[in-house]
């Protein structure tokens, strides 16, 4: 059930109707049932896995609160983390490790291969669950006593399969002190859902067609212009796809009275890689910061340790996305860029004032991010290297039509307006007719640009 299908909207309408027509005590049961139904509609066989992880971390949370500080408490934490990482590792990394092991012991690549189907959204709900256990261990979060509440935290359908990764304190704050959404929440939710749908159908899927055509036949599309346009098309696809999904998830949650964190803030306007990671997949980058980078020592142990921590965090962040050397290199590439920026900037805080140099810096950052996307999108390492070679030699031709470029220009103008003038908030607070016009324009955009028949899955569903 993709978010951009009629089936999903029917499902959402039924859930909203049942949710608001039921007595309050029943509502979380309705959400839980709907969430399991949503997850089961992809592959019901993974529901036991989800339940197992839920039981393990729910139990771990209660134990962690009961056991006094000391080695036993740490053991409980480690057991919980091992269970989470064990499941994640098995489903996501077994074949990757197996193929590398086969290479080391000089056996065929398929020697240790298992036909494993990746459970949907495992990376997201595992990280979310782990963050809860670590928060309880650190004393930052009370253990949740009600198993229904905890199960809902793990499988809440708007963010179950591709985030944003929600912190327990925010989710349970909303759940335990649930208030009906205000008129502003509903307006915001509807606007976000429409915006997300527009981003996905009218932008992401159109760029996906170009990117997919290019990456399907890289050797048949030589030349730097061809390669750059194919890679930029993917850059556009992944941004509009993922941020579109997130907007819809946040909007849906708003309609149900929950408040998810912002996950994207116009990342392609970033003027440095540091700034980019402040704006891209914020819920993951803050997770990595809070649970990995700080645990490794952050920037408190000197320059070299800071670089090492940055590299390690980004390498693991890359590996979180998928089990392949491409993701490791993608993470390492960003880690290296962040470290390099740190070398030049020292301990001075990041300052990205809007001035005459800003567009130049933003353009350079954009180009560097695009180079990184090559590793993210290419089928394997040889193809990544082939694309990179093509990006800097020959001529080629532009794969994007003029109207693609016009879409990019419109998106850029809207992003700048949002960045400088808070356009989204202005629309929310505008008179009814202006708000309705904004919605109508987005609907119209879906009508004339939306990819309607081809079902192009969300990129991050594979993680």
């Amino acid at each position: 059930m993709l978010f951009n299908t009629a089936h999903f909207f029917l499902f959402l309408a039924v859930v909203l109707a049942l949710f608001y027509s039921s007595p309050r005590p029943l509502r979380k049961y309705i959400l839980l049932a709907a969430s399991y139904f949503f997850y089961g509609s992809w592959n019901y066989r993974f529901i036991p896995l989800l339940l197992t992880l839920t039981v393990i971390d729910y139990t771990a949370g209660i134990w962690l609160e009961k056991v006094p500080p000391g080695p036993r408490r740490k053991t409980v934490l480690i057991v919980s983390l091992c269970a989470n990482l064990g499941f994640l590792g098995f489903f996501k990394f077994y074949n990757f490790l197996g193929s590398n092991l086969a290479w080391v012991v000089d056996k065929p690549a398929s020697a240790f291969f298992l036909n494993i189907v990746l459970p949907l959204g495992i990376s997201f709900h595992t990280f979310q669950s782990m963050s809860y256990v670590v928060d309880v261990y650190r004393g930052e979060q009370q253990a949740v006593r009600n198993p229904i509440d905890y199960a809902l935290f793990i499988c809440f359908f708007p963010q179950l399969v591709a985030g944003p990764i929600v912190r327990a304190r925010n989710f349970f704050g909303d759940l335990w002190h649930w208030q009906p959404p205000s008129a502003e929440d509903v307006s915001r939710g509807i606007l976000l859902m429409t915006l997300g749908l527009t981003k996905k159908m009218a932008f992401a899927d159109q760029f996906a067609k170009v990117a997919n055509d290019y990456f399907k036949n890289v050797s048949g599309n030589p030349g730097w212009l061809t390669a750059w346009s194919g890679v930029v098309a993917f850059g556009m696809q992944i941004y509009f796809d993922f941020s579109g999904y997130t907007d819809m998830a946040i909007g849906m949650a708003k309609l149900l009275g929950f408040h998810f964190p912002v996950n994207f803030r116009r990342p392609y306007l970033a003027a440095s890689i540091t700034d980019f990671w402040r704006r891209w997949h914020i819920s993951l980058s803050t997770w990595l910061r809070d649970y990995l980078y700080i645990s490794l020592g952050g920037n408190r142990r000197g320059r070299w340790m800071t670089y090492r921590n940055l590299m390690l965090t980004m390498l693991l962040g890359g590996l979180w996305h998928g089990a392949s050397w491409n993701f490791v290199i993608w993470g390492g590439y960003h880690g290296a860029l962040l470290s390099l920026e740190r070398v030049f900037r020292g301990n001075r805080p990041v300052r990205d004032d809007w001035n005459w140099f800003y567009p130049l810096k933003a353009l350079l950052t954009f180009a560097l991010v695009m180079i990184g996307w090559v590793f993210f999108r290419a089928a394997d390492l040889p193809q990544s290297l082939q694309v990179l070679r093509q990006m800097f030699r020959g001529h080629g031709h532009l794969l994007l039509a003029n109207w693609h470029l016009e879409l990019m220009l419109i998106a850029l103008v809207l992003a700048v307006v949002e960045e400088k003038y808070d356009g989204f908030e202005r629309v929310l607070k505008a008179p009814m007719l202006a708000y309705a016009s904004a919605l109508a324009l987005m609907f119209f955009c879906i009508e004339v640009f939306g990819v309607i028949d081809a079902s192009i899955p969300f990129v991050y569903f594979q993680f």
Binding site: S182, W277, N299, Y435, A436, L439, F449, G450
Partner: protein
């Protein structure tokens, strides 16, 4: 990575941060929200209607597209109506109906009728109905409307025109709100019905490719449209068909195998395979139903009109398929002929053109074929209608 880079300075958050929901006073105005949504949907439909249900966008449709070609032909023929006098005859059909307007135009001196063509390549009776509705809104403008038909008997083939979504792309600019249900239900499969429904409700969906191409080169499109509006009637009037022919083609009907002479193009071979050598399929009556529906609607529209509906059987091919290959169970065209105002031309009128030297491929006439066909058609129409002012022959 700023969240990471500045992490050392961050303080640990509180155990449970207050939920934003707790801080806001709920102000629920579901009626207002519902009204806003309705307004947004109405505005979107309004924008769609403003662009696609007026001449605003349809006047700049790509002339080489299905919808654009139909619109251009409609525009040309409506313009011709203003100067063509009272004895005007129009022909409708697909690309097989092509003939030389210049030759037909020589005939008015002999026949007293001006014969014009509004045939659209690739179109079918469903598109002809919607086109004719706007070409002749009063149902009285023409003395006769001539339909070029492949066969007076109905033969179902593997391709079913009743489920051909291309009809939407031809008619999209002609469809009205009142057509939506009827038009979409006229298709057979659910998927195509849905596609037709959404395309006729929100025309922007059906015109996506055209809009995107327009946005890529808007000035070029506008310039091309202007050029078409200036010169296109002349181009089509002076168009000369190719002299290529199918001489040397031999067909073994018992094995459905063709022998092609040297130099025959792939296009000619493909058309032979598709048009002449296709396998027969069970005769279910689908085509008959389709023809009865759409041509029947045309006949109904002209029931009490002075306009005659004339059907002609087009030359069937360079070597026509023998009748014994399939047992045809019905003849919707002959059924239609029982209605007032509907006339069938002699079925064998164009048999003399069913020779390889008159065809450029297995489907279409070449220059010689078109010239002969054109003159014969004008004469036959004049014969059926009789002299202007006189009584029509049946």
């Amino acid at each position: 990575m700023s969240p990471l880079a500045n992490a050392g300075r961050l303080r640990r958050p509180m155990a449970i941060a207050p939920s934003p929901a707790l801080e806001t006073t709920p102000v629920r105005k579901p009626r207002r929200i519902a009204l806003t949504l309705v307004a947004a949907i109405l505005l979107m439909f309004g924008l769609d209607a403003l662009l696609f249900r007026t001449h605003l966008y349809t006047s700049i449709l790509e002339p080489d597209s299905s919808a654009g070609l139909l619109e251009l032909i409609l525009w040309r023929e409506k313009a011709a109506q203003r100067t063509a006098g009272d004895n005007l005859v129009v022909t409708l059909g697909n690309s097989r109906m092509g003939y030389v307007p210049k030759v037909v135009d020589l005939r008015p001196r002999q026949t007293g009728y001006v014969v014009r063509t509004a045939g659209v390549a690739g179109s079918d009776p469903r598109a002809w109905y919607y086109m004719l509705r706007d070409l002749d809104p009063t149902a009285r403008r023409y003395r006769a409307i001539v339909f070029g038909i492949d066969d007076y008997d109905d033969e179902d083939q593997a391709f079913h025109p009743d489920d051909d979504i291309r009809a939407l792309h031809y008619c999209v600019a002609r469809l009205r709100w009142s057509d939506v249900i009827d038009f979409s239900r006229s298709f057979q499969s659910r998927a195509v019905q849905w596609e037709a429904f959404r395309g006729s409700v929100l025309k922007g969906i059906a015109l996506q490719n055209d809009i995107q191409a327009f946005l890529s080169h808007p000035l070029k499109r506008i310039a091309y449209m202007r050029l078409c509006h200036k010169d296109w009637p002349g181009w089509t009037y002076n168009f000369e068909e190719t002299t290529r022919n199918m001489v040397g083609l031999q067909i073994d009907w018992s094995n459905l195998k063709a022998t092609y002479p040297p130099g025959m193009t792939d296009e000619q071979k493909n058309s032979t395979r598709g048009w002449l050598l296709h396998e027969t399929v069970p005769q279910t009556g689908r085509l008959a139903h389709f023809l009865r529906t759409w041509l029947g609607r045309v006949a109904d529209r002209y029931r009490d009109s002075r306009t005659k509906i004339i059907f002609i059987r087009l030359p069937r091919g360079p070597i026509p398929r023998p009748d014994y290959l399939v047992k045809k169970r019905s003849s919707s065209i002959r059924e239609l002929a029982s209605r007032p105002n509907v006339i069938l031309a002699d079925e064998h009128l164009f048999d003399c053109l069913e020779h390889p030297e008159f065809f450029k491929d297995a489907v279409h006439l070449n220059r010689d074929g078109v010239e002969k066909f054109s003159g014969m058609l004008a004469d036959e129409v004049a014969r059926i209608l009789g002299p202007p002012g006189g009584r029509a022959a049946r």
